[in-house]
């Protein structure tokens, strides 16, 4: 029921183990191998340490905040700066020519509702008084029939007011 073997047995085992180690002992490294190992260790120690990854985001945020603050200051300054005063010409140097105004003869009214005609004034009201010519005031100089349909404009006979009507061309 004893969990450990007797002391003599353990001594025998250790001696056997030592004997096996002596027979198969590993070769001692040569001075050249030791030198290589030493150089590798030295190189590793000389290489600069990489920056701590947690520091970069913090530095970026600080730079961004600084830029935003700088932009805000510039904008605020520009708002506070008064605009340059306008250079006003002396009164005597101002152009004194009258505005170019169209003459009545330069205006063409292509179409206007009759109700609005007298809202336009070209020297006088556009429609004004509707006065028709009286008998004897119109002198017909020449009439020519329509070449296609043969109708000709003539003064309506027996009319106190001259009216131009279409009449069939005389043969």
């Amino acid at each position: 029921m004893n969990a450990f073997p007797p002391q003599d047995d353990r001594n025998d085992d250790l001696e056997q183990l030592a004997e096996v180690f002596r027979r198969h002992a590993p070769a001692v490294p040569s001075p050249v191998q030791w030198q290589r190992v030493q150089q590798a260790v030295t190189r590793a120690l000389v290489r600069p340490a990489a920056p701590t990854p947690g520091l970069r985001p913090f530095l970026g945020m600080v730079a961004a905040l600084l830029l935003v603050a700088l932009g805000g200051i510039l904008y605020w300054t520009s708002l506070r700066t008064a605009p340059a005063p306008l250079a006003l010409l002396p009164t005597e140097q101002l152009p004194s020519e009258p505005f170019a105004v169209a003459q009545a003869a330069e205006i063409t009214i292509h179409a206007v509702e009759i109700a609005d005609a007298d809202r336009i004034v070209l020297g006088r009201f556009l429609l004004g008084q509707l006065e028709f010519a009286r008998a004897g005031e119109i002198e017909v100089v020449e009439t020519r029939p329509d070449p296609a349909e043969g109708w000709m404009p003539t003064i309506a006979p027996q009319s106190a007011m001259p009216l131009i009507v279409a009449s069939a061309q005389e043969p």
């Binding site: 179409a111 028709f132 100089v141 020519r144 027996q158 001259p162």
Partner: protein, 162 residues
């Protein structure tokens, strides 16, 4: 010395005259224009309503064309026309009248003009300033209204350009 002075003064006067002549020649001549107004009138055979401004004309037309009962003013156009330059006045639908000033106002304030009413050949007449001459065409609109138009020329003596 006196000869030289005469030559100098003579040259100066000649140059002045030449300059004045050139300036006068370069100045744009004032173009005579006549303002032509055209009113478009529609006459109905069914609607007896007549514009009060057209009562006198309507009464005169009804003497020969009793079927025309009502008269109304439709629209107006106004153009300043130079001499001998025809211009087209749109009336209604695709109907138009061509008007040309043949001579500007004479001493009696009369203007001669040439008119091509739609489908009626042409008429040349002289008219006093400021008065309309009505022309009854043969055209009827889609609504059955008869097309009339009247022509007036201006300016008259009192408002001619000086």
């Amino acid at each position: 010395m006196r000869e030289l002075l005469r030559l100098f003064v003579g040259s100066l006067l000649a140059l002045s005259g030449l300059s004045v002549g050139l300036l006068y020649a370069c100045e744009k001549p004032t173009e005579k224009k006549v303002r032509v107004s055209v009113i478009v009138i529609l006459a109905s055979e069914t609607d007896a309503t007549t514009d009060p401004k057209l009562e006198a004309l309507a009464a005169e037309i009804r003497k020969t064309k009793s079927e025309l009962k009502g008269f109304r003013l439709f629209k107006m156009a106004c153009k300043s026309l130079p001499l001998d330059q025809a211009d087209v006045f749109e009336l209604i639908d695709d109907q138009s009248a061509t008007i040309k000033i043949k001579s500007t106002a004479d001493k009696l304030d009369r203007v001669r003009l040439e008119v091509h009413p739609p489908s009626m050949g042409k008429i040349t007449y002289s008219t006093p300033c400021g008065k309309f001459l009505p022309i009854i065409t043969r055209f009827k609109t889609k609504k059955g209204e008869h097309l009339l138009f009247a022509i007036r020329v201006q300016p008259c003596g009192e408002d001619k350009p000086k």
